[in-house]
Every structure is written in structure tokens, then in C-alpha cells.
């Protein structure tokens, strides 16, 4: 009796699988294909060797630096706030979290545009500071939320035990709270770093000519002025960006796994 049913169930994932092959796997393969094809056709490492031109190297380094700085600033700003929020009473906690999440629902373009006035009024438009401010402003909630989630789940008794055993409040934070919250910190770092390093509008809107990021460069290879368009180089840049991000995510995940294991033991 259940045969027909299990047959229906087993093919119900089929449309999705076809979809995933057509629109996730195949496009990825085309990125690979275009990255190793030279303009006009034919396999080549030309795009790869072109990566070592000063303009690409400096842009990659700049993107990484800005994203790292923005991530560190976010972490420094977010951790204390997450800690404060986790200690609030339940009703106020959920109000604050709602307030924190609201800006996340506002479109990224709008949030970035809304900074243009402020940056002009404060007078640092077009500088690296304004680009990094753009990143921090856009992605700060993504750092606060995961840290807050982890912190609010920490068993109070650990903190009491640490105090009873003679730790000062500061020692308790450094030796108990911080290690227990590391998984939240890691996912916060990933959630800020990945969009920051790959962003393409922030520096166009807030930066000057010397703050071009890797995302802007990729965008101009595909949709820029006709002189800048080069799908093959654009594909190579995207490929490198993707690899870079997967490596950093892998490293972070390993780091957090080990820490978690350590805590359990």
C-alpha cells in the first residue's frame, strides 16, 4: 500500500535536484571555464598570470585590509553590546533585539546611501575611513546577533562557580565567558567579513578613486564601460574571491570546532 506513496516522496526532491544542477552547479562550472579561457577563446592561464599585475594585487590587498579592519571594529563594538543585552531582563531584551534587527531589513543600497549625507556633513567623504564606516554600519548587526545568541545561552552557574572559586569579574569574562562565546564570535566574524570583502557598492558610493575594492573591479569587468568589460578576467577575479572566502570560512570553522570540543572535554 505504501509503495505509491514512497515513490511520490522519493521523486519529490527531483525538481529541486534538476534545478540545482542547472542553476547552481552549471553556473559555477562556467565561472571556472571563463576564468581559464582567453579573450577570443581557447584554454589559457593568461587571466591567472594577469592577477599578479600591480592593479589587481593592490586591489585584493586593499579589500582584505578594509574588510579586516571593519571586522575588527565590528567585533570590538559588538561584543560589549551583546554582553550588555544578554544581561538585560527578558522583556527589554526582546525589544532591543527587534530594534537591532530592524535596520537589517532595510535594503543595503538604501543603508549605504543614507550614509552619504552624514559623511559629507562630517567632511570625510571619499576617504578609506568613509568606506570602512560604510562596512561597519551595514554589517554591525550581523556581528552583534550571533554573539548575543551564544552569550544569552551561557549557564549562569558557570559564572557563579568562577566567582566562588575566586575569579574577579574581569577574570570571569576573560576565562569563562569569552571561551564559551567563541562560536558566536566566529560566526559573527564570517558574517561581517564575507560581505565586506566582496562588497561592490559601498566604495562607489562613499569612497574616492583610490578606494576601489575587488567587488567594484569584478562589477566593472561585467557591467562597466565597454572598455573595461572582460568576462574572462572577471570570472578569474570572482573565482579567486570565492576561493579566498571558502578558505577563510574553512579555517574559522575548524577553529571553532576545536574550541567547542575543548570546552566539552
Amino acid at each position: 500500500m505504501n509503495k505509491k506513496r514512497s515513490f511520490l516522496q522519493s521523486i519529490s526532491a527531483a525538481p529541486h535536484m534538476v534545478w540545482a544542477v542547472l542553476f547552481i552547479v552549471t553556473p559555477m562550472l562556467f565561472v571556472l571555464y571563463y576564468a581559464f579561457t582567453k579573450e577570443g577563446g581557447g584554454f589559457s592561464f593568461e587571466n591567472f598570470t594577469n592577477l599578479f599585475q600591480a592593479i589587481y594585487v593592490s586591489t585584493f590587498v586593499r579589500s582584505l585590509c578594509y574588510a579586516l579592519i571593519a571586522t575588527v571594529i565590528c567585533l570590538l563594538l559588538a561584543y560589549p553590546l551583546a554582553y550588555i543585552l544578554a544581561k538585560l531582563g527578558e522583556g527589554r531584551q526582546s525589544l532591543m533585539i527587534t530594534l537591532l534587527m530592524l535596520p537589517m531589513w532595510i535594503n543595503f543600497i538604501i543603508r549605504t546611501n543614507s550614509l552619504i549625507s552624514i559623511v559629507h556633513i562630517l567632511g570625510f567623504f571619499g576617504t578609506p575611513v568613509s568606506v570602512i564606516l560604510g562596512m561597519v554600519y551595514n554589517y554591525l548587526p550581523y556581528m552583534i546577533l550571533p554573539i548575543y545568541t551564544v552569550l544569552s545561552k551561557i549557564d549562569r552557574r558557570y559564572l557563579e562557580a568562577s566567582m566562588d572559586l575566586g575569579c574577579t569579574p574581569l577574570q570571569t569574562i576573560l576565562k569563562v565567558v569569552l571561551p564559551l562565546s567563541i562560536s558566536g564570535v566566529i560566526s559573527g566574524i564570517t558574517m561581517v567579513f564575507v560581505p565586506s570583502v566582496s562588497t561592490f557598492y559601498i566604495s562607489t558610493a562613499l569612497g574616492g578613486n583610490k578606494t576601489t575594492l575587488i567587488g567594484d573591479m569584478i562589477e566593472s569587468r561585467f557591467l562597466g564601460s565597454s572598455g573595461a568589460i572582460n568576462y574572462y578576467m572577471g570570472a578569474m577575479l570572482s573565482l579567486i574571491l570565492m576561493i579566498l572566502i571558502f578558505i577563510s570560512m574553512w579555517v574559522m570553522n575548524r577553529f571553532s570546532d576545536e574550541k567547542d570540543g575543548g570546552v566539552i572535554v
Binding site: 500500500m1 505504501n2 505509491k4 506513496r5 514512497s6 511520490l8 516522496q9 522519493s10 519529490s12 526532491a13 525538481p15 529541486h16 535536484m17 534545478w19 540545482a20 544542477v21 542553476f23 547552481i24 552547479v25 553556473p27 559555477m28 562556467f30 565561472v31 571555464y33 571563463y34 563594538l77 560589549p80 553590546l81 550588555i84 530592524l102 531589513w105 532595510i106 535594503n107 543595503f108 543600497i109 538604501i110 543603508r111 546611501n113 543614507s114 552619504i116 549625507s117 552624514i118 559629507h120 556633513i121 567623504f125 554600519y137 554591525l140 560581505p195 566582496s198 561592490f200 557598492y201 558610493a205 567587488g215 569584478i218 561585467f222 557591467l223 570572482s238 574571491l241 570565492m242 572566502i245
Partner: protein, 272 residues
């Protein structure tokens, strides 16, 4: 200590909300400046309502959001059901990994990869890529990046289903199909609805991927706003449109929250 943490919290929230507040302020500016306030006026809003292009972009955004979220919910729910029953562990985790790629990948890479797909199809058929871009390309893209979110919100509800209820329905004479529609589907409905809402909002909100696939003719609201903003310059009409969009999203959030609460209450009543 308490005082310090209160001040700190206020400062962070000021940082988060000040730009939005200033944006709303300048959307009412009487002059065409976004740095000097010259008096209150509704001119920019009046202009917006008369602008056919804005309405078109709004319509496009809504049609795309609705279609892509409905289709993603259908395909994704079916997929979650199929994946839960899948015997082959490796195939299942393989499918899940592939599905999550658009969620992990930076948006720009997803956009680029789909653009390259259409570019390739265009070369095969000997047309320009621009002819393939626009509505259909964006619809495909939105369904693709919505799928993992639908699956992620439906899958846990399937895992929570009580197998005994299904068996009882079968024993009491339901056909397998009607047992599914009468017992299992209502059980996973909250997951389906929250997946749908998630997909709908993500679709409205997406800029990067849509931008890469919109071609020269088609635009959604975020792409339209992008097109209006020059390098480091922004005009009050953009701020006015943005303000309206923020209010729209806020209304949507409130609605979905209220709906979810009602559904939860209903479920609790049923189980109690």
C-alpha cells in the same frame, strides 16, 4: 557600571539609526540638497507618485517577489520532503551542500556565475546576452537563492512530525495521498509559511544578483535606486523613495509577525 553600559547601548543604537533618521529628514527637504536642510516640503513625494518609472519598478519588484517565493516554496517544500525520505546518505548531504552554495557564496559571485550561464547560452544560440537578461533571468536567480531558506525552514518541521499520526490516518482509511494532505501538510505548514515569508522578503531586498541579471531595460526598486545614485551624490527624491520602501518593509514585518503569532497560538491550542 550600569550607567556606562546604558550610555554605550544608546550610542550604538544612535549609530544604527542616525543615518536612517537623517535620510528621512532630507527626504522632506524643500531644496534639492541632502546636506543642508532648507525647510519642510512634500514635493519629492508628490513627484514620486507621478513617476511612471517608479511604479513600473515597484510592480516588477512585487511580481518577482511573489512568483519567486511561491515557486521556491513549492519546489523547496517538495525537496525537503524528498530529502527527509532519501535513503542514500551521501546523495542527501551532497544535494544539501549544493543547495547551500548560493547562501554561502558572496552575492557577487552568484550573480556573476548566473550571468555567465546566460552569456554562454546566448553564444550558443548566437544572440546577445542582453536579450536573455531581465525578468526571466532574475526570476530563475531569485528562486535559486530562495530555495535553501525554504528547505531550511521546512526540514525541521518534517523531522518533528509524529509518524504515529500518519499511521493512524492510514489505518482509519485515508489513502496515502490524503493522509499527506490532511495530516502531514498541516503539521509542516508553519515551516512552509515562514519559508515563504523569508523568500518573499529576500527577493524584495536583493540588489546585487538582480543587478547583474537585469540587463539594460528591466529594473526592480533597489536596482532603480542604484541607477539614480551617482558617485557620492544622492538627491532628496532617492531618499523619499527609500523612506517609502523602509516603511513598506516595516509594514510587511509587522504583518508577518502578527500572522506567525496567530498561527503559533492556534497550534498551541490544538496540541493542548
Amino acid at each position: 557600571m550600569k550607567q556606562i553600559s546604558r550610555i554605550y547601548t544608546v550610542l550604538i543604537f544612535v549609530l544604527l539609526y542616525a543615518p536612517i533618521a537623517i535620510m528621512i529628514l532630507f527626504s522632506f527637504n524643500a531644496a534639492e540638497s541632502t546636506t543642508k536642510f532648507a525647510g519642510f516640503s512634500l514635493d519629492w513625494y508628490r513627484q514620486l507618485f507621478g513617476d511612471a518609472e517608479v511604479w513600473l519598478a515597484f510592480k516588477n519588484t512585487m511580481v518577482l517577489a511573489l512568483l519567486s517565493s511561491v515557486l521556491a516554496t513549492l519546489i523547496g517544500t517538495a525537496a525537503a520532503i524528498g530529502l527527509a525520505k532519501m535513503k542514500n546518505r551521501y546523495l542527501r548531504s551532497g544535494v544539501q551542500t549544493v543547495t547551500n552554495i548560493p547562501m554561502m557564496n558572496p552575492d557577487i559571485v552568484t550573480g556573476v556565475s548566473l550571468l555567465l550561464l546566460f552569456a554562454m547560452v546566448a553564444t550558443i544560440f548566437g544572440t546577445g546576452v542582453d536579450r536573455l537578461l531581465g525578468f526571466w533571468a532574475i526570476l530563475i536567480a531569485h528562486i535559486t537563492f530562495n530555495l535553501p531558506y525554504v528547505i531550511l525552514s521546512v526540514a525541521p518541521k518534517i523531522a518533528q512530525l509524529d509518524r504515529n499520526l500518519t499511521e493512524a490516518a492510514l489505518d482509519l482509511g485515508c489513502t496515502p495521498l490524503s493522509a499527506f494532505f490532511k495530516v502531514e501538510l498541516p503539521g509542516i505548514m508553519p515551516g512552509i509559511i515562514s519559508g515563504f515569508i523569508m523568500a518573499f522578503t529576500l527577493s524584495i531586498d536583493d540588489f546585487v544578483i538582480t543587478y547583474f541579471l537585469s540587463g539594460s531595460e528591466y529594473s526592480t526598486l533597489p536596482v532603480y535606486i542604484y541607477g539614480l545614485t551617482g558617485k557620492g551624490t544622492v538627491t532628496p527624491d532617492v531618499y523619499a523613495l527609500s523612506t517609502l520602501l523602509c516603511i513598506g518593509v516595516l509594514a510587511l514585518l509587522v504583518c508577518s509577525n502578527v500572522m506567525q503569532r496567530r498561527m503559533d497560538a492556534k497550534q498551541r491550542k490544538k496540541t493542548a
